[in-house]
Every structure is written in C-alpha cells, then in structure tokens.
C-alpha cells in the first residue's frame, strides 16, 4: 500500500509505469490526420505576411504603404514599427499585410517603400578583441583562493579557448498561427505554443479585452525548444489584422524569418585555465568568458559546470550584437557551459596524461550530493562505449587518415513539475477523459497523462481519452524547464485517485461492502478480498445512471509524486578524417537518471531526440552572419545544416532505474540529455586527432585549421 494515498504504486504493483508504451498520438500524427496550426483553414481566411528590415542596424526614416494598399486583394496594411524606430537586427518586422492569398500578400510587401538610415552593426563576437566598445565587463565572481591554487608548484596548469556560436531554434513547425474574432470582443487563436494556458492572458492585456475572452487552441505542435512561450509579435499582429479585416488571418513565419527572428541560442566563449594536482584532483579555475544574446549582450554562463572547483575566479564580458534576438534554448546556457567546462577539464586530464574516465571519476565528488550517481553512470557509460578497448591517450596513432577517439561529458538539470490543474471524468458509458490546458510538444505528454490515469483506474491506456491543447480546459503550466511530465502526471494522478474514490463510493452499496474494500484492477471493479465479486468497468460505470463522476487534480498537492535534480553522463565515439576534417559519429552513449520513469519508450525517445539535436549543434548548426551586410547568410535549410539519419551513428540510451531512482518520483527529461553532446563530441575529436578544435560547430574547416595549428596536418 502506498504510504500516502496519491503516491505512485510500489514497484510490484505497476502495470504500465516503466513499460515501453508507444505514443497514443502516433497513428494520428504519422497518418497526417493530426492538425497543426498551419493546417487550420477557416472560411474567408486571409493570409498575412510581414516585411522585415534588410539591415542589421538602422533607423526607420519613413514608410510609404500607399502602393501596397492599392493592390487588389490586399485587405489590411499595418505598420508594426514606425519612423524613428531603431532596428537592431535584420528581418525585424516593420509592416504587416493581410491579403486574400499568400502571393498577393507577398506582392504587397514588395510595393512598400521604407527608407532607412543605416547604423553601424556588429554581427561577429567570436574574437573579443574585435568587438570594440560593444563589449562591457559584466561580472566577476571569486571563491576560495585561486591565486594560491595556481601558484602551487606541485600542480599542473592547462589552458585553452573554447566556445559555441549563436545557433537558431529551427523549429520544423514555424512560429505563428491562425487568429479569428467570432465577435468583436472574442478572440480564438490557433497559435503554435508551448504555453496553451498562458497565451490568452498575454494577448488579452495588449488587445484590451478580458483574458477569458481569448481562447488558444494548439492540439499538436512541431517543436518549440524554448522559443514558443509567448504570443510574440506575430501573434499580436495576426490578432490585430484579423480584427481590422473582420476575417480570420493566418500568419505563419516563412523559414527565413523562422531562422532569423524566432529563436537564437546565445553564444558563449571563454579563455579558461584549470589547475590540478598531479593525481588529477582539480583545485583551481580561472575563466574570462564573453557572450552575446543580441543587442542586450549576454550573461555569464554557469561555469565551472557541475563540478564545484574549490578555488575559482570567473570574469565575464557581455557583447551587444545585431545577430538577432535570443530565447531560451532547450536547457538554457547549460550546453554552452558544459562545453566550456568539460572541454577545459578534458584538456587538463590530457595534460596530466590521465585517462579521462579516471579523471572525471576522481573529480565526481565535486558534484556534491550527486557525485555517487555520476560515478555509477560513468561506470555504465564506459562499459557501453567500450572505453577500455577504444580509449587511448590523445591522438590516435594508428596509420591512415581516419582517426578514432572517445570523449565524455557530464551534465545536470532540475526538472520539478509545474503547476497543473486537470479534470478527470468517468462517464456512465465507461469512457474516461482527462482534460487540461497543457500541450504536447512532440515529447509524449499526451501519452504520460493517459498512462497516469490508466494505471490508477486499472484500465488499458487506450481506454483513456486525453484532451489537451485548449486554454478553456483547466490551466496547466508552460512546457519549459522540463517541468511538464512532473506537473501533468501528478495532477492527473491526484484527479484520477479522487475520481476513483468517488466512483467506488457510489458502487459500494451495490457490492454490499465499504468503498475501501473495493478496487479497480485489470478492467474490473472488484472486491479486494474476493476478486470473483466483480463488475467489468463498463458494467460498473453503467450504475452511474446519467451522472458522470468528475474530480479535479492539482499540482502541487499532497504526497510526494515528483522531485528535481538529475545527472547524466554521455560518451561520444567519433572518427575524424584528418585529410578532409570530416567528423563521423560512430556511436553515442547516453546514461541518464530522471527519477521514476513513467513510459520507458518516450523517455528513451527524449534522449534519442536530444542526442540527434546535440550532434547537430556540435557538427553543423551556426547562424552564419555576414560582416559586410550584417545579414544572416544561411536562413534556409540548405546551409543551416541539420543532421540527417546518416549523420548520427548508433545511439545507445541507458536509463537509470530501480532503488535509489524510482522512489524520487517523476522528474522531467526534456532538457538534460541535450546538454552534453557538444562537450562529449569535442572531447572525442580531441582524443582522435590530438588537438582541440576550440569551438562548435566542429566543421571540416575548423578541424583542418586545428590540425595545422597543432602541427598535425
């Protein structure tokens, strides 16, 4: 018996929890029946397009929309940013047009005349000495006695420069939506969002209507990664255009705008010195970091990452650039901090001529209370990657141009459940519905909601109907910070336990026992002490007559269903062609804990997806900015490269489960596994070729440059 009535079932009593269960929306998605925002087409709907500024930094002098307004089929032309506005990045929206077709809207944009006064731009920050007065000292943090640590004669100092460029989110489903006013005070939005319950309030305030009059619907969405929390300018403009036109409006970003405007992960670069004792114990850290997150500059990354080096000093410079806006990108700042730290520490291990596994194992204690988890994970990851057989000291000495190497990294994340409300309804016809204003970003949220209810009711997962994606349902949190699974599974569990309790109380008289003597299991309601006294679920529900049972579930709430704080270890096994600089992933091992795993299959899928995304940002992704024009040169999927199936190698995922993990409750997993790939791959490349490629993405150009600089070409 659980100690607290809402607790997750004990290990022996779990029917669905921890099993490999396929996504319940798999068939509807793979058959194309799932409708995304882009698929919504309403009668009389207009198409909207936005004109972006062609300069990275400019002041708007004048705008003439008269020619566009005259074009047949154009219904509304709306200036978004007027004369006098200072534009800080290329593509920033200046005017919007709603027209009867996409083509007319595009033509109208070409007829708008905007005069700009160009201002100096900065779109490169990777060399700090070249940023001029755009760089501002932002922070200095000191702890312990780094000077003494670096002066210690028996210690070894290593140093290097490391970094990660600005990348985009590149959501495969672009940002935007469809906006419709059924009457002048009511707005319905099919807005692609990670925040179904949160969008209406943000829109309503700006539009001057009550929040309750705005409804947001997002049944399916194709990726957000932290970039789809708000209504955004296009959501606001879409709603305004629709109101003015008196017709529904579709405003989805085209691919180039998606890459220029709708995301962006800040860069992080750092010159780092690490000092360690000859036995490998890391004692000191000194870093001078810099970063950009656009015109507002960029903050200090959380370095040293995971491992709390006792004596440390970190100085940071914030660089204001015109590269574009940035947003939270899957585990904000962690992948960059992880790369800077784990690459610098790996270089320290190499300088000490130590096996990196031994080095990280030795220093895992600096991770505090999770040190032992990291040690367990390091052992498992090393076994799965064949570390003993394939790791070698820096530089693969086998003949031929192809060099193989292994590299590792460790990461952490929080992941506690967000606030969530749901309604659980048992209908007299036997159907069960869970409804909440949450969203499934493609992560399996629908499936874990169904699973949590099905486990509680003793029903197969197919017996549960999940209704999410509508802000008119009970409010549930935004999907950010890996908090969704914790939030929605606990509200569903609590609501389901309460609904079941009420249901059994109704049935108790007809069984002639107390409600507490009944249970729901294997599709029956039965007497615990005599399971032969039973009704099928459907028969039992029929006894409700015409009145459904309904209960609300909440998170937070009683009993400990969730917690936070995870650790993971990843190992990359790569081959580098030293004649061409091409890096191929042979194998990638991810070992991850995330507390109690509800659905093993979707948990593993999260890791696969994260690793593919991680390989992509490690090898391919980069917002390539033109120094001369200030524009993004690769706002397309031709040169903004993403890994394909042939580029990812073999991925091995091992989830930590059982005693020590399960009893912690549910912890989110969306972000942790995407953190380490940059560091693990960078370290593997260094292990293969004997020199460090300082920054990601690790392109052939950079590999060949590093080999040449290191005298290994």
């Amino acid at each position: 018996m659980p100690k607290c009535k809402y607790d997750w079932p004990e290990a022996g009593e779990r029917r669905l929890i921890g099993k490999r269960i396929s996504r319940i929306d798999g068939p509807v998605k793979s058959s194309g029946r799932a409708k995304y925002s882009y698929d919504v087409n309403l009668p009389g709907m207009l198409c909207a397009k936005m004109l972006g500024c062609p300069y990275a930094h400019a002041k708007i002098v004048s705008i003439d929309t008269s020619e566009a307004e005259k074009l047949p089929g154009v219904k509304v032309v709306r200036v978004i940013q007027g004369p006098g506005t200072e534009i800080q990045w290329e593509g920033d929206e200046v005017v919007a047009v709603a027209a009867v077709t996409e083509e007319i809207a595009e033509d109208a944009l070409s007829k708008i005349k905007v005069e700009y006064e160009q201002l100096p731009h900065l779109v490169h920050e990777e060399v700090l000495t070249e940023v001029g007065d755009r760089g501002k000292p932002a922070a200095e943090i000191k702890s312990g006695d780094p000077d003494a640590a670096f002066k210690d004669k028996n210690s070894v100092i290593s140093e290097g420069t490391y970094g990660a460029s600005v990348i985009a989110h590149c959501c495969l489903e672009a940002h935007g939506g469809v906006y419709d006013w059924p009457d002048e005070n009511t707005l319905v939005t099919w807005h692609s969002t990670q925040n179904v319950s949160g969008v209406p309030g943000q829109l309503a305030e700006a539009l001057g209507i009550p929040a309750g009059n705005v409804r947001t619907i997002c049944n399916y969405m194709g990726g957000g990664f932290g970039s789809k929390f708000g209504p955004d300018r296009w959501g606001m403009v879409g709603a305004q255009l629709a109101k003015e036109a008196g017709r529904p409006v579709k405003l989805m970003l085209p691919r180039d705008a998606e890459l220029k405007l709708a995301g962006g992960r800040p860069s992080h670069f750092a010159k780092i010195r690490v000092v360690a004792k000859r036995d490998g114990t890391v004692t000191g850290w000194e870093s001078d970091s810099w970063s950009t997150g656009g015109p507002g500059g960029g903050g200090m990354p959380p370095i040293p990452y995971v491992l709390e080096v006792p004596n440390r000093v970190m100085r940071h410079t914030s660089v204001a650039t015109n590269i574009g806006p940035t947003r939270a990108w899957r585990a904000p700042n962690h992948p960059q901090a992880c790369l800077l730290t784990m690459a610098a520490l790996d270089d320290s291990a190499a300088k000490l001529n130590m096996d990196a596994l031994e080095f990280f194992y030795k220093n895992a204690g600096l991770a505090g209370e999770r040190g032992e988890i990291y040690r367990q994970e390091l052992r498992i990851a090393a076994d799965l990657a064949g570390w003993k057989n394939f790791w070698h000291p820096r530089g693969d000495k086998t003949p031929g141009p192809i060099k193989r190497g292994l590299g590792m990294s460790m990461h952490t994340w929080g992941g506690r459940g967000h606030n969530s409300n749901c309604t659980v309804t048992i209908q007299p016809d036997g159907s069960v519905e869970v409804a909440l204003g949450s969203q499934d970003l493609g992560t399996g949220t629908r499936t874990v909601i169904a699973l949590s209810a099905a486990e509680t009711f003793g029903l197969p997962i197919e017996a549960i109907t999940v209704r999410i994606g509508d802000s008119k349902d009970p409010a549930s949190g935004a999907s950010g910070g890996s908090t969704t699974v914790g939030g929605v599974s606990s509200s569903t569990r609590r609501g389901s336990v309460d609904a079941l309790e009420a249901f059994l109380a109704k049935l108790a008289p007809s069984f002639g026992v107390e409600a507490s003597a009944l249970e729901a299991a294997n599709g029956y309601v039965r007497v615990k002490a005599d399971p032969s006294q039973r009704l099928t679920w459907k028969q039992a529900c029929a006894k409700l007559g015409v009145t459904p049972i309904q209960a609300s579930g909440k998170n937070p709430g009683p009993c400990n269903l969730i917690s936070s704080g995870v650790g993971g270890v990843q190992i990359a096994d790569v081959s580098v062609d030293t004649e061409t600089g091409l890096v191929k992933i042979n194998k990638f091992v991810a070992v991850q804990d995330c507390g109690l795993i509800l659905d093993m299959k979707t948990a593993e899928s999260q890791c696969y997806g994260a690793i593919i995304m991680g390989i992509t940002y490690s090898l391919f992704e980069e917002k390539i900015m033109d120094r001369v024009t200030g524009r993004m040169l690769n706002p397309n999927m031709e040169f903004y490269k993403l890994a394909g199936i042939g580029d990812i190698g073999e991925i091995i995922v091992h989830m930590m489960t059982g005693p020590g993990y399960d009893e912690r409750g549910v912890i989110g997993l969306g972000e942790p596994p995407v953190i380490s790939p940059g560091a693990a791959i960078s370290n593997a490349v260094a292990n293969a070729i004997g020199v460090r490629v300082p920054t990601i993405p690790i392109t052939p150009q950079k590999v060949l440059a590093a080999l040449q600089k290191g005298g290994k070409a």
């Binding site: 061409t580 600089g581 391919f620 033109d626 120094r627 031709e638 042939g646 150009q701 060949l704």
Partner: protein, 328 residues
C-alpha cells in the same frame, strides 16, 4: 513573386518561339527544383515560364556500343542513376547522380537542369546579383566566402559551379546538343560553361532562346572512372569539393587521364596539370597525391576558404585511387 505566364509547348520549335531573345524575360522550366526556389527568393523574375515537360524528343536513355550514350535533357536524375547501361558502362556517372541524394530532387530534377542550374552562392540567392556586389563593391572577397571559389576566382565571379554531373561528363568527353532558332549545334560540356565578366551574363553557353536537348557521351572503352565528393553531410548537402577522374590504362600504367574538379571554381575545372601528373605512371598513393597537388597548385584561396584547397587536393587523390581500384 511576380505573376508570370506558363507555357506548355509540345514541340521544340514551339518552345523556342516562346522564348525571348534576352535573358530574364523568359525561363525554361524543366524539373523546376532550382528555378522555383530562385523565383521564390526573388533572384529570378521571369514574365513567362516555358515548360519542357510536354516537348517531344527530350527524354530517353539510349546506349550503343559504337556511339555511346545519349541522354535526353529531360531524363531525371533517378532514371540516370538506375539505368543498367549507365551503371554498366559509366558507373561514375551513376554515382555522381546518386550523390545528389535528395529523393525529391532526384525524382523531379533533370540532367539538363543539373547542368543549367544556377550557382548556390548565398549572396546571389539573397538578391545581390550573380557577381554579388554591395554599394558597388564585390561582396565575396570581404564577406563570408567559405564555400566560394579557390580557382578561376580573379573576379568578378567568385561563385562555384554547382553541377553534380558536369565534372564526370567532361572527364568522359561528353557533348551537349542545343536547339535554337537557327537550328542545332553541339558543344563539348567542357566548353559549355564560362565565367561571366559582367552582371547579366550567364555562366553557360546557351542563348536566351535556345534549349538544351540532350547529352551524348562517347563509349568509355574500358576506361576506369570514379568520382569523389567531400560533403559534410550524408544527406543532401553541396560538396565542399569534388573530383571526377577517367583513366585510360595500358596494363598497370595510365596511358592518359581526364581529371575535372567540381565546386572549386565558377566553372567545372579540368586540370591538365593533374592529368600530366598521372600520364605514363602506375597509380600509387604517391602518384595520386601528386596529381591532387598538381590540381591545386594554382589555387588562390579567398580569405576564408583556404581549407577547400586541401579538400580539392584530397578529392582528386581519392578519385584517382578509387578509379584505379576499379571505379565507382
């Protein structure tokens, strides 16, 4: 995108009449995989598209032992890469087609279109013109030229020829057939491409009212052949450098060689220097490497593309070794 007229002629004569006498007014639509994106990006604004889809006499693959291979211009990349005679007699040509990778492009894209597609230069595609100027100055030397030319790049053209098939077709001695108002003509694929010296000029020898009707490839006569592409990604990705090699052997010795580089210059780049380095030699790692070095001896990289010199050299070396070992 400006509105345009769509013409669907059924004969070559009719198609030619529908084409304007100057560039820009009309464009030829074959598979459309390049043209439609050019129009969407605003890099092409034709008033009329002349589709070749229904035009007679532009399809078909024929092979004869004495005259070799004839490809209709509208043969798709898919048809080319899976045709038995191509696979059997010109394996490197089939491999070059297969290396395009994108199922969509292979299914719709044509061999004529592969030769006539426009460069992928990101400045050109962003509307700065094929010669990419900004405020009257050339953009490429000052800008991001990581994918631009390392050979034949004295200016004002810095883009690279994007064709996947041209290097191997040139190495095989292929010719293109061209039909115009004055009748038909044949041009060697090596002569078909040229480097424009002024904006508005095209990078191939086709007049605005001519159509490319087919390609003939002479019999390979037992030559060994291979291509090698250095691509960052396995899936659709433009090569950073590529090489096509055809070796006519006398026992273990190279009697004569054709070496053509791709993606390194505004035109497919035949390398007589590499060919000379191979002639009369038995192929070894050292000989292949010497050919690679010879191929790039005159390379003058721009500010950011020095790495491509190394990649071109390796592409030649590996194509030579692959050819010598039996080819594609």
């Amino acid at each position: 995108m400006e509105a345009f007229e769509y013409a669907n002629p059924t004969s070559q004569e009719e198609a030619i009449k529908l084409l304007a006498g100057e560039w820009g007014k009309t464009e030829i639509l074959a598979g459309g995989t390049d043209l439609l994106s050019l129009i969407k990006d605003g890099a092409a604004c034709p008033k009329r598209l002349v589709s070749l889809k229904s035009v007679e006499g532009l399809g078909g693959i024929e092979y004869k032992e004495d005259s070799g291979l004839r490809l209709g211009a509208m043969v798709t990349i898919d048809e080319l890469m899976s045709h038995d005679d191509v696979l059997g007699h010109y394996p490197a040509l089939a491999e070059a087609a297969e290396a395009i990778r994108s199922p969509q492009i292979c299914s719709l894209g044509t061999v004529g279109g592969d030769l006539c597609q426009r460069p992928r230069c990101w400045y050109y595609r962003a509307g700065y013109g094929l010669l990419a100027t900004y405020n009257g100055k050339p953009l490429v030397p000052e800008g991001d030229n990581r994918y631009h030319a390392i050979l034949g790049n004295a200016g004002p053209a810095y883009f690279v020829n994007p064709s996947s098939l041209a290097p191997i077709l040139i190495a095989l001695g292929a010719k293109v057939s061209i039909q115009g108002p004055q009748g038909s003509r044949e041009v060697g694929v090596d002569k078909f491409f040229s480097t424009p010296s002024a904006e508005g000029q095209r990078e191939y020898d086709l007049k605005p009212n001519e159509i490319l009707t087919g390609i003939t490839v002479p019999p390979a006569g037992g030559a060994k052949m291979a291509i090698y592409e250095v691509r960052q990604k396995e899936a659709l990705d433009w090569p950073l450098a590529a090489a096509a090699v055809v070796l006519n052997m006398d026992g273990q010795t190279v009697k004569s060689a054709r070496v053509v580089l791709g993606h390194v210059a505004p035109v497919p780049w035949p390398s007589p220097e590499a060919e000379a380095a191979l002639a009369g030699k038995a192929v070894s790692e050292a000989v292949a490497d010497a050919a690679g070095q010879a191929a790039v001896a005159k390379a003058k990289p721009l500010s950011m593309n020095g790495y491509k010199v190394q990649l071109a050299r390796v592409a030649v070396k590996r194509a030579v070794l692959k050819a010598a070992q039996g080819g594609a």
